[in-house]
Each structure stands twice: as C-alpha cells, then as structure tokens.
Symmetry: C2
Subunit: 335 residues, 2 copies
DNA sequence: TAAAATTATGAAAGCGCTTTCAAATACAAT
DNA sequence: ATTGTATTTGAAAGCGCTTTCATAATTTTA
C-alpha cells in the first residue's frame, strides 16, 4: 500500500543522477529522453514507489485532471447507474471523477458546482438538475460541460439524453394496444422538463389513438415512491374508472403498486401498470414491472466520452441513445 | 456563477493595499489583523469574487481538506445511504468528500485507495470491503481511517458498525416467536464477515430456542437480488419443509419474494420472509417487508464525526448504533 | 574537418498559496 | 522620556511539480 508520499521528484532526480526536469519529462513523456536515463529514472521511481503529488502537478500545469460530476441524489437508482457509467469510462483514463450532490435543490446545486469549480475541475458533467439556461451557458464558457438526462435547447451538442416524449409515447401505446382506453398518468414534478415531456408523450399517444385525454386522470407526483401511493389514492377517490396507470418513473410505480395492493386491486388482472426507467429493481417488483428502459449506464459512458473528447479538443456529437419498452408482467390485455 | 479563477491573493493584496501574507491571514483567521485592513481585504475579496486556488492551498499547507470515501458500489441502497450521511455531515465543514468505488473487488479497492492517497486525502472512510487487517493498519499509520459497516478486531475505536450477530438474532427470534420452527437462511458471501456474523446470529437464536439448525436450510447467496431467487429455488428443490426465510439483506429478500411469487407461494400466508437493512424500498415490497433496520444514514454521520474528531486531534469513540426490528407484513404467525 | 542545424539536458522561473522570521509598530511599565 | 514587552505586518522562503530558456552534446551538411 501507499505510504504518505514524501519522496519527491528531486529525490528521484538525485538518485538517478539526472535533473528534476528530466524526471518530469520521462514521467509525462513530453520530450524524448536518452534511453539510459529513462530507464534509470523509471527504475528509481519503481524502487522508491514514487507517487507524484497531484496538487503540485495541478498547480504547475493548471490542469486538475478531475471531472466534476453533479448528481441530484446519491441513492437514486437511475442517477447512480449513470454515475457507474461515468466511473467506468473514466477508469482507464488519467481523469478522476469528483462528485457532488445537488439534492434536487437549485441552491445546493449551485453551491455544489461552485465547490467543484473551486477544485478546478477540468470538466463538468451535470446530471439533471435545475440549472437555468443562462447559468449553463455561463459555466460552459469556463469549462467543458455536458448535461445528462436533460436536454437544453441551444445546447444539444452537449446534452446526452433520451427522447422522453417518444419513450412515454411508447409506454402509453403499449397500454392502448392492450385495449386500455382509460389510462391514468402519474407525472413527475412538472417544473422538471422530463416530467413535462413524459406527460406530453402520454397525451400524444392518447390523442393519436383517438382518446380524449382526461386531465382528471393526470396526477402530479414528485418522482418519489411515496407520491405514487398518494397518487393512486387520489385517483381512486375520484371514482372515475380507469384500467391502467402509466407512472413517469419506476419509483412512483412501486408506490402505486403498494397502494393498489392495500386496496386489493390486483395487478395486472384488475389494472395494468407501467413504469419508466427500468431500474434493476423493476424486474423484481411483484409482479415484474413493465417499463421503458433508459440506457442509464450508457448515458454515463456517453457523457464521459463527450467530455473527454471536448477536453482533447476533438469534435463529437452525442450518440443517439435508444429507449426500449420492456414488457413484463404488470400489464395485461384489458378485458 | 463562478468564473474560472484568475484573481489571486496578490491581486487582493495589491488592491487592498496590504501584503499577501495579510490577506492570507484574514482569510484563514490564523492571526489577528487590524480591523481596518481586515475590512479592506474582505471588501476586495467580495468585490473581485475571489476564489482561493485549492491546489495552491493544499500544496502550501500540506492539507487537502478532502476526505476519501471508498464505497463498494455506487447504486447499492445501503451504501448510498451511508454516503448520504457522510455528505450531510461534511456539508457544513471545510472538508469535502471524494469518492471512489471498490466494486466489491479487492484489487479495485486497493487501486481506488491508492488513487485517493495520491490525491492526498486527509482522512479515509472505508465502507465495508475486503481490506485485510494488515493493510488497514498500514493505512491507518499514514492517515486517519474509519471503517464503516465492518468491525475489525483490534481496530474497534475506528469502526462504525452495528452488531450483526445481535441484529440477526433479533430477526430470527421474531420468526421463532411467530411459531416458526423450520426457518431457512439465505446468507451473504461468507468470505464477508458481516455475512458470517448474520448467519451466526441466526444459528444462535435457533439454538437458544432449542431448535437444531439444519445446514441444509442455509444457502449462501451473494447479497444481490438474483441470488435470492436462486436460493429459494435451491431450497425448494430440497423438498425439506420450511415455513420462513431469513435473508441476510433486503436485496436477497426481494429476490426470494419473486421466486416465491413465481411458484405461487404466498407471503406471508404460506411463508414468512424477513430481510436485513431496511432499505427505503423494503417498505414498498409486496407485501411490505419485515426487516432489521440498520441506521445507515446515522452510520455515515457517525463515521464523518469520528474522522473529523481524529483530524482535530480529539479523542472519541464510535457511538453504539442500535438496530431495530421493523415488523411489517411479510411475516405472520405460523399455523 | 569546420560550420550549421538538431537534439537532449539542466537551471531557473514560476504556479498561488502558507508560514516562518524578522522588522516595525504599538502599548505598558518604570 | 526611556526601556521593555507584546502585537501587527511584510519579505521571503518554501510546497512539489511543469515548462521555458539557454547551454551542452550530438548529428548533419558542406
């Protein structure tokens, strides 16, 4: 294991009989160095288990080799999966991710970003969040920035996301194909563009099938499990018959499932339920949840790829990541 | 928002008509500075929106103000909850957490720690993992280290954890009190001490109740959902009757639940199921899962508290965190 | 073989901050 | 007023590295 470093570049230099500059050069590979010296240096480096001081490096070079990743909530399966993707992509790189948690609060988010900027991150990956367009543009001026799971108009080249409208359309269409006509929707927080897009896709599918969307059947949730149970209870209270629910994320679908269980309403026999995200847990819901799969890990990988490209000065556009309906056992043909 | 910093301490000094040293002093509050100069400095700092360069600070002071947090898996609800606790505790501090993911692999873990050490973390919080005692001791020599969710003999003063044996005993006892005599156990990876302790508590409770533990009813899982379904399938294959299952974590309980659902075995009518952890999702299982609550956020808070104390040179011992049985609807009296 | 054109290398100047050291100023005591 | 003590303050020396610049060594060309 590492010992707290105390061996410096000049220790190496001395022991290898070269100058510190040369050591730096062989370590960074910036200039050709005579093979003999090269080997001598490398030898001493290995022998002394030299670990460069990252701060000195960063201070001198002006690069931190750190990528700031702003999540909205450690513990959210969806964001965590994206993070996994980022981590994996950065793994075999010289870059290192540092994380901060915006906690779904604009203030915390700004503060978190500030903290990261203070740590001189070379690039920024922002997962979702509430940053306003001007703030994003301002930030992007200072440092490469890619947004994940959020599409910002005019900033598409740096947004890695899926088509929420289309995904949502897919889910609703599935329900319609199964003969459902009266389909409720539990939306996410409508101050969030994703939530609006998903509602939009739901409405679109309905309209296209010649079904008049009923505003009474749309309940605004907040993307969390508990709001799913509340939503179902409100829906039930209204005494409007419906045979299916489309929840704007899996978490709320779980909540809905629980509320239905409590009322003795069977899924899918009495009511079909569709989620959104396809978190790993969705396949383990009782019954396994039909849902729209977001390629979350891929989103993370892609985000890292883009930012690395920006850092290297290469031009790339985000790949078009496809969503996919995963039909499991929570939906059935409407009798 | 922050602009990439370019305003340095000597800009401040110049504009405020003092020396750089003085600026540093008022910013760090290390020495008394005349009130007039103090205000002048602060004024300019605010005016220019000065952000100290963290690297320069760290290089000069030898402190990084960073706490390394090694998790085993971004996306694991239990570890993520601990992380939340750490984040929250560090939030109003000058310290900043940096994370790495050991991915439940000893090599990755070592590599991750090395990376953090290279970033000169002032302290290390390690969640679970496979670090061996010697490695831990070696590390602890270099930097304050606290282990979370793992108890290392001879290192208790720096271990924040619960009593797994006792917790497990509690869960099993609950089942016994409900009249179950033939209780299966899905353990975690037995190369992990937690898993062994939990199995131990299960056996203890059985023996104390005069029930001979049946090794055939103990299946080794790996803490992941899928291993829960496999375990139930193996159990069923054996054709030994049993009326309850105690899983060593909630994830495996979810898996078990799914396997039972597929076989048409009702929970809790036909079989009682107990988990371990009380992840947020446990309350949303169908039916809501009876489980042992680990105070995960508190574990994180406590870990941060300890490491902060160590950093400040204060002596403290880890608080004794209590587990608690949360009885929900997945367990019933054995008929 | 001498002169010109290339390299490989070391010295030294930072990067932006903290902190020691000593000088300067203020205050107290005689 | 004078000496002594305590406080503020600035100059300067690092922290460990990168990188420019100039020199020394090497190769090429005439």
């Amino acid at each position: 294991m590492t010992t707290k470093d105390n061996v410096t570049i000049s220790d190496i230099a001395q022991k290898a009989g070269v100058s510190a500059s040369t050591v730096s050069r062989v370590l960074r590979g910036t200039t050709k160095v005579a093979e003999a010296k090269r080997e001598a240096v490398l030898g001493v480096v290995a022998e002394l288990n030299y670990q460069p001081n990252v701060f000195a490096q960063s201070l001198a070079s002006g690069q931190s080799m750190a990528i700031g990743v702003l999540t909205q909530n450690f513990g959210s399966p969806f964001y965590d999966a994206i993070i996994q993707g980022v981590v994996r992509a950065l793994n075999r790189t010289d870059y290192f991710p540092i994380f901060a948690d915006g906690q779904w609060q604009p203030d915390t988010e700004i503060e978190a970003i500030r903290t990261m900027m203070r740590r001189q991150v070379d690039g920024l990956i922002v997962l979702g969040g509430f940053l306003m367009v001007e703030e994003i543009e301002q930030l992007a001026k200072d440092t490469p920035l890619v947004m994940v799971a959020r599409n910002v108009t005019g900033f598409e080249e740096n947004c890695v996301c899926i088509d929420n409208v289309q995904a949502s359309y897919l889910a609703t269409q599935h329900l319609i194909e199964f003969g459902h006509r009266s389909i409720a929707h539990i939306s996410g927080r409508l101050d969030h563009p994703d939530a609006r897009d998903r509602r939009q896709g739901y409405i679109l599918a309905l309209e296209e099938a010649g079904i008049e969307p009923n505003p009474e059947l749309i309940i605004e949730g907040n993307f969390r499990r508990q709001s799913g149970v509340l939503a179902v209870e409100m829906l039930l209270l209204k005494r409007i018959p419906f045979s299916a629910i489309f929840a704007a994320n899996d978490q709320m679908a779980y909540g809905a499932r629980l509320a239905l269980y409590r009322r003795g309403i069977r899924v899918p026999e009495d009511l079909s339920l569709v989620g959104f995200d396809d978190e790993p847990a969705a396949a383990f819901m009782i019954p396994p949840l039909t849902t729209v799969r977001q390629p979350s890990i891929e989103l993370g990988l892609e985000a890292a790829r883009i930012i690395l490209a920006r850092l290297a000065g290469e031009a790339t556009s985000p790949a078009n990541l496809k969503v996919e309906l995963v039909v499991r056992e929570s939906t059935a043909i409407h009798r």
